[in-house]
Symmetry: C2
Subunit: 313 residues, 2 copies
Amino acid sequence: MNVPVLGPAAIERVAVPRLILDTVRDASIAHAEGRTTVPPPLHLEFPGAEGDCHVKAGWIAGAPEFAVKIATGFYANPGRGLPANHGLVCVLSARTGEVRALLDDRGMLTAWRTAAAGALITHALARPDAAELAVFGTGQQALLQVTWLAELRPLSAVLVHGRRPERVAALCGELRSRGLRARPATAREAAGADMIVTTTPATSPVLDAAHVRDGAHVTGIGADMPHKNELPPELFARARIIATDDHAQCLDHGDFGHAVRAQSATRRSDTAVGHLLGSPVHRPDGAITVADLTGVGALDAALASAVLHRLLP
Amino acid sequence: MNVPVLGPAAIERVAVPRLILDTVRDASIAHAEGRTTVPPPLHLEFPGAEGDCHVKAGWIAGAPEFAVKIATGFYANPGRGLPANHGLVCVLSARTGEVRALLDDRGMLTAWRTAAAGALITHALARPDAAELAVFGTGQQALLQVTWLAELRPLSAVLVHGRRPERVAALCGELRSRGLRARPATAREAAGADMIVTTTPATSPVLDAAHVRDGAHVTGIGADMPHKNELPPELFARARIIATDDHAQCLDHGDFGHAVRAQSATRRSDTAVGHLLGSPVHRPDGAITVADLTGVGALDAALASAVLHRLLP
């Protein structure tokens, strides 16, 4: 086979934050402007093995490549010493249909795409002087959301809230090793920060809307299935701007959908993330803003293509 | 990447007809018995490039692997000296989700799966003494359907009908070089054969039901989209047995669906192909039988897995 297979080391070498941020911003704008093709994903379940497989595809109109991403999650793997997630990204020519390359990214591109999308909209919607960030959750995305936002604006303090104290301590340690002033916080303290990012698999809200202060911005990135819910509907009722990465997806399985079903927001009260990334957003100092991200396949395609072009110019 | 990439030469070495026929038979039976998972395919269009991409997946319950097949068709490629079809098959563990291998099969596995499925049901439903075969169409599947059926029963004559005389002559020559008595035929002659296989992209019936004789068997393999249609509804009205490889698919985009919409067959008048492959079929000598094949993703998965096990025992 003449198709190159590119591994994690090569991908990590070229996928610098600047490339990822620029690519994700441009792709988000294209998606908001309707210049993307994102078919409904394909899904298989393996109930006996606690496993599933999702296949997503995306294309930005006019781009020379499109991508098909195969991602599996087998949740009993860690007990056997194996990672839960596997898969690959196949990049194909949108002009001839030929397979251009396979990216064995170990899920990194999806993680970075999510980190960049979160950091970009948090930075775009937060007050220019906002410097205190709270993060809910202690997993990979908690670390990435903080460190990628720190690429975009100075952070005076990072409050970390999680259910397991040892994981909160570990994340604070990791963030401090990167020069950030991180400390554990209660949910109430964290909800009072200038900027809040939630990165949990929660199925009921992780913060109380009454604890969120006027002028704060909140980004939710955890909801990826209809039963998941991180942000309370009442928060959407208070929000002056509601940003969604994909209107239909967020209605179907995002926090925005929960708010609409609770009648705390109307179906058309959201603005596409991409429409808020192109130029500075007008936001009154005292306004609350909320972003609901569910993950857009066209961003994966754009990122895979950008990485490929750096590796195989 | 530690994932093996297996090319056409290796695949051709192990994918002998016996392996393919056995695998396709077993997988067809599993599908008929509801022991398969076949999610709706994912589909992208590239109108400016006359291209499309289909992603299909399938799993046979309990099998150690499942497969995801990416297939593109870019119909302006031949004008540039490139094949129209590209893609690959990704075989993954159904126990851990790990990628086991990539098969760069150049579409061969799909072609062989289709050939085997057609030959198996034609052989199962045709009269035991039927020996004259007619094939409509002159492409790759016309050649394969004839040669694979010749693996299962002796053929006394092969009638070839196509619109382009030079392609009919070429196929007859190829079949004769393989020891088969092949000759060009009119549509009316071909429709009078003991066994008929249609392999065209036709959008209106290629034969007249009145020309099909009592006791004949007809297999249609060309219909893969709702607007395609090879077999006339009246043929279904005459049929004693109607076999479909997937009830829902054949209703949606097979010849069976055309017959049901024309009220020449009832929605429940079909029998699953897999139910007819397990043991000898009782068919009265004078009965007409029809099979409508649209292609089942679980058969691709089974075949990819079987090939992989021969290559990486």
